[in-house]
Amino acid sequence: MSDPADLSLGDLRDALKSRSVSSLEATDACLERIAKAGALNAFVTLTAERAREMAKASDEKLANGEGGPLEGVPLGIKDLFCTEGVQTTAGSNILRGFTPTYESTVTSQLWCDGAVMLGKLNMDEFAMGSSNETSYFGPVINPWRKKGGNARLAPGGSSGGSSAAVAAALCPGATATDTGGSIRQPASLTGTVGVKPTYGRVSRWGIVAFASSLDQAGPITRNVRDAAIMLRSMAGHDAKDSTSIDRPVPDYEAALGKSVKGLKIGVPKEYRLEGMPAEIEQLWSKGAEWMREAGAEIVEISLPLTKYALPVYYIVAPAEASSNLARYDGVKYGHRTKDYNDILSMYENTRAEGFGDEVKRRILIGTYVLSAGYYDAYYLRAQKVRKRIFDEFTEAFSKVDLILTPSAPSAAFAIGEKMSDPVQMYLNDVFTVTANLAGLPGASVPAGLDKDGLPLGLQLLAKPFDEETMFSGMHVLEQAAGFNAKPDAWWT
């Protein structure tokens, strides 16, 4: 039998059910690969013992013909999801050693459906970053390298541990979160599939909060089917998240293979950026051609406010973050400074020692735009432009069923390349951030390689709660692209 760690999530699920492989075999195969992949720095915490216990329990259920939809499937969990009894850091020094006494809704649902936890995945600190370089635990390295080169590339961010682990086949799937593109951009940079569902589709309870009106969890997997399987287990209403929406979770897998004939696919002309590599533009046209060949109609649309989405985001997200991160004060959990003489210096020194530079920068921006005298000029204005962007999408989706764009403005870039200029780093999310502002579902599908042999992704956006049509479109792109390239395993 071949190595079970090579199986996709869907294939592994089927093999487990037919008992041609055991969960313990699959789990051990993943753990063995993770042990050899230290150079990628994808995992922050390994839970090998717990994984093997969960796998054994799954094997017993499977032997009795029982088990949930993910029974025995080992998964990686982004270190933003609280896991009971297992350190949860959000990639930050301020939460080092924090061991939740409760389990996030998403991970509870995954364990309830039979999944096995391999460990916690590295990420940008508090999910703030597009390259996984802001993590207190050091950068994650992209399994992909340029053809003939050995420079270390970024796996995207903030879900860089998730994207790298899945791309390197350390696990068949991983949880991730997306506030401005943190699922879709890393998926694009690593040749994996990433899905950000509609805001409200997946419970945020027990996920360390960054920007509450934008945060949404989703899967990163090796193919579209795997993402459909995983999202079904992650999604659903949760009374503990007041923004969670109570509507049934469809069988997303059933949407795969459904024809896109007659669907209208919008191609927004404003996503054609100056200075964008020609290869990305060509791939985008190819994507439109694939959809047309599958019977869809391509419609040029206009979203003129696109260029204002990132500036809106860099007011709204830091504002919400400055409020959410006020809880890290050295009192309730996490780091407390040793250097203080009163409560104020305890707060100030704890936070100075606990937060990294990018997190501090965003807290300061957020505090500034919410402060007296600036609130109307920045925060209120941003919320109004956000409404106009939302309306623009509502209008566009009255004419089209899906929107097709590139996922990211570039392929994977070198570690260190964009760290010196925050605005350059922020531009990574130029194509993804609009979906967060408007609450729409979006997904990245690997569609080709650039001249350096690095993966490039295409993004599909859909109407709120129409993930099914999005999955049908993703499947068409996947089939047409026939993307099956894999990185050379240089890290073993």
Partner: protein
């Protein structure tokens, strides 16, 4: 809008982050750069537009005013204080606040 050192000092204090004196000028430059880029929002016509705080168009749900079961319920002070850097008898311990 460019931010000066004094503004950074004031905002850092509001945010309860100790910033050493030598970091104030570089931070003022960084934040001015980001806010300068954000200024382009002034080009957008927002006359008569409502501010949007959430894309979820629902009234926040109400629940029965009773103690919940599970992790959001009461009666588990040991769990609540389990991760405190300093606690005593299920209380959080902080430096003296009132003289």
């Amino acid at each position: 809008m460019s931010i000066d050192k004094d503004t950074v000092r004031r905002v850092a204090h509001l945010a309860r982050i100790a910033e050493p004196e030598e970091r104030l000028a570089p931070l003022a430059d960084e934040l001015s750069g980001i806010l300068g880029w954000i200024e382009q929002l002034n080009e957008v016509d927002i006359e008569g537009v409502d501010a949007m705080a959430s894309t979820v168009d629902v009234i926040l749900p109400m629940r029965e005013d009773v103690l919940q079961d599970g992790p959001t319920g009461g009666g588990q002070p040991d769990k609540v204080t389990a991760n405190a850097p300093k606690s005593d008898d299920n209380f959080f311990v902080v430096p003296k606040v009132v003289e």
